[in-house]
Amino acid sequence: MNPTEVLADARETPPQGPPPKPFHLPATTDFTLPNGMQVTIVPYGTVPKVAARLFVGAGAIDEFAEQVWLSKLNAALMKEGTRTRSAAQVAREAAEMGGQLEVHAGSDFTSVGGVALSDFGPKFVALLADVLTAASLPAAELPRLTADLLRDLSIEKSQPESLARERFLGTLFPGHPYGRVYPSESQLQGYTIGDAQTFYRKNFAAARTHLYIAGKLEGDLGSAIEDAFGGWAKGAAAPGLPAQAAKARSFQIVDRPGAAQSNLLIGLPVAEPASPDYIKLDVMDSLLGGSFASRITSNIREAKGYTYSPFSKIGTRRHLAYWLQSADVATDVTGPALDEIFYEIDRLQRDPPSGEELQGIRNYLAGLFILRNTISPDAIIGQLHFVDSQGLDRSYLSTYTQRVMEVQPTDVQGMAETYLVPSKMTIVVVGDKAKIADQIAPYTQATEQEPQMNTDKHR
């Protein structure tokens, strides 16, 4: 019999498969050196590679208003050699271990690390320690690195998504380093080697540092760590600088004449990771816009064809979080795309999702959790660093899936209602102002005249 004939009248239902296997998080070994540096080691996997990353609590947050990107300049200088090794030597030694030195300055942390062949684990740790604790920050390299940063700045500022991000974060975090995304060219040109050296001296120390090592482990890493970092000065813990995020309706247009699309960013502050609401927000976000099958993506991509890769997410900084919906939409549907996004927010605020829809999202997050904790040594490090840097207990990870499974339809609706308040949202549109003016008029007028705009009036 032809199987397609059997199928002709009834649809098959997908096979469910057996029950899931139990998932155990990779076990960690944690200790603190006498100088306060924290260490976490995670044996994982059979592939002979090991990831080692040091997160130092030093980044944009430690820059003064006139020092934007000084942390990046410092990171670039840290790759330029140590008191005993030239930059070329550092690069060659890392390569001989199958690794590469990566130094990256972010909002709250500068990371120094890489992934090397397991045979060289202890030696790689020693090399990273030399870079981190004995960086020479040579003045001779300053002009070249400044020119590189000026080029990066110029290129980034030609990208529409970067312009949107700059305006969005600038609006959300006024007067705080989180809101200062880009320096001016003259600011960058003004940094001296003394500025970078002072930044390094002031902000890099053992008490602000956490070393994570994950992968297939070989050799005596414990001794290597003690030998390499034991003599590093303790310093003080990172001071922190709490941010007051803006919670007021703001509509911002960045004009980009001739743009083929409008880049939309819509969002506002939500509860921080340590809040009991955070996991519920995570579930709400995945259902609303944070996954391929989410409501906003189903609507503006799969039903309307307005955009290719819309997404929402919860962005975090230390002890704070914000929700964000992003979409690059065709210019002529800028207004309709905004309407649909707010329609979906409003719909979720009014009605709890069905049990079936929510169960799908809970399962999705439970599955993603396994991937995030197994997919690579760096992914494992990312999960642990998130928990530790947000001051959460490690039980956040061991209880995550259970807590996701406990989220109820009314919780999701409640999160949308409590947090996704349209009258408190920042909306940024990067696009051709003249072409989209009519489409976005309802939003711009509401900002000027009536902040408590009712967003579902178009339905």
Binding site: G17, P22, F23, T46, K79, S154, T307, G360, N363
Partner: protein, 450 residues
């Protein structure tokens, strides 16, 4: 790691490779149809078609495939590449049968409408706008370089698609493309992760063995002629602030000794801060902050089957002339062509390559391993080739590196692509076909030299 390889009676190639590190499983279906081979008046069709594979099959309506994977705790994707189009799911390991059932459902046939097609034409046009037209350096160099460096249409057309071609596609064309290329005897199914091979074989037989094979069209001639003259192309980019420069050399034939030597030359020249061009162009000359490069910019040096380019690219300032940068590149490249390199440099490149190979194979929860096994099954009928790669690189000698550089890093084998910030001149057609433009440039050059 163990590999089981066999073919179903309908020709489907099956590769099974268990790995019990995590309770997850990758299910990947590869069809041997990439963007090189698409209808000549329908550029971008292979990629548009890939989108249609998510729009519905007999038992899974629109969005249901995506929802099925997601609500079972997994992620999925599809991509169109030079010589294949792939679809894969990464799921908790107890959901292997669910994935196999779903992939078999869409291998049997599509249940799609004009409305679905119109929707995905809009989505794909937005995709091209986002990544090319609305972006400074959009398509640089991955989309443009093959169009300038190659001369055979299959390798040199705009594979993302001219917007008018994407708009013109019809539902009949979609169904015809499916019938022609999406058959089990033109596909490979790779499974990597936590599963029992015996159980998997039974499930595969159950869901895939009744799917009928198709008669495949003869493959077109993809060969590129030996390039005998250096080519230079310039594109004006009104969205860009700084100039950029890329250069490509045609690769040696796949799996030849020279091909493996080029893998090491890529490591020597552009991979990592120890690489020769990083040291020269970044550290010594300060032309740029980084030099990126790859064999096959849309994958890796293993997952293609046809003419390929080794490409490197950098962004620079207007104060540095392309001629200066190229002469610095030439100095480095010529040093490799004129004498055998040190054994220590070869050794370091092998170490870097070995490390990078581990990364490739473990990429995305075992997807990287599935990718290579499926490609070696489709292209070479031998997925176990992945186990011999390391030893092939170890066979490379300094003499072979020199010989390879002498033939393949010839200036005449090179194409240079320059991006100049600023608006195109008013008489230039912004949608001009790069291949035609190149032909015109070459003709003009020849006239000058005559």
């Amino acid at each position: 790691m163990p590999i089981t390889y066999y073919k179903l009676p309908n020709g489907l190639r099956v590769i099974l490779s268990p790995d019990f590190t995590a309770p997850t499983v990758v299910t990947a279906v590869y069809y041997r149809i990439g963007f090189r081979v698409e209808p000549k008046d329908r550029t971008g069709f292979a990629h548009l078609f890939e989108h249609m594979m998510f729009q519905g099959s007999r038992n899974l309506g629109k969005m249901e495939f995506i929802r099925l994977v997601q609500q079972n705790g997994g992620v999925l994707n599809g991509s169109t590449r030079f010589d294949f189009t792939n679809y894969f799911e990464l799921l908790p390991s107890n959901k292997l049968e669910t994935a196999l059932w779903a992939e078999a459902d869409r291998m049997r046939g599509l249940a799609i409408t004009d409305e679905n097609l119109k929707n995905q034409q809009d989505v794909v046009i937005n995709e091209v706008e986002t990544s090319v037209h609305n972006q400074p350096y959009g398509g640089f160099p991955w989309l443009w370089m093959p169009q300038y460096a190659n001369s055979n249409w299959y390798n040199s057309h705009n594979f993302y698609g001219e917007l008018k071609d994407i708009e013109a596609a019809t539902l009949d064309e979609v169904q015809a493309f499916f019938k022609t290329y999406y058959a089990p005897n033109n596909a490979a199914l790779a499974i990597v992760g936590d599963f029992d091979p015996g159980e998997a074989q039974a499930m595969i037989a159950k869901y895939f063995s009744a799917i009928a094979p198709a008669e495949l069209p003869p493959p077109p001639d993809l060969t590129e002629p030996r390039q005998e003259k250096e080519k230079t192309a310039t594109r004006k980019d009104p969205l860009a602030n700084r100039p950029a420069l890329a250069f490509s050399y045609h690769m040696p034939p796949r799996n030849s000794p020279e091909y493996f030597a080029m893998g090491l030359l890529d490591q020597m020249l552009v991979q990592g801060d120890d690489s020769l061009l990083y040291q020269e162009l970044v550290k010594k000359r300060g032309f740029t902050g980084e030099v990126g490069g790859a064999i096959n910019e849309l994958g890796n040096m293993f997952d293609y089957d046809g003419p390929m380019l080794w490409t490197a690219a950098l962004f620079h300032d207007a104060t540095a002339q392309p001629e200066q940068i190229l002469s610095a590149i030439d100095e480095v490249v010529e040093s490799l062509r004129s004498q055998p390199v040190d054994q220590s440099l070869v050794d370091r490149s092998v170490t870097k390559m070995r490390s990078s190979l581990y990364d490739t194979l473990t990429q995305f929860g075992g997807f990287g391993r599935a990718d290579l096994m499926a490609c070696y099954a489709l292209f070479d009928d031998d997925p176990s080739k992945i186990d011999s790669l390391e030893s092939e690189f170890r066979k490379v000698t300094p003499q072979l590196v020199e010989r390879t550089a002498r033939e393949y890093l010839r200036k005449a084998n090179r194409t240079v692509l320059l991006i100049e910030p600023g608006a195109a001149s008013p008489d230039a057609d912004p949608d001009a076909d790069p291949a035609a433009e190149m032909a015109a440039e070459t003709a003009a050059e020849m006239e000058e030299s005559n």
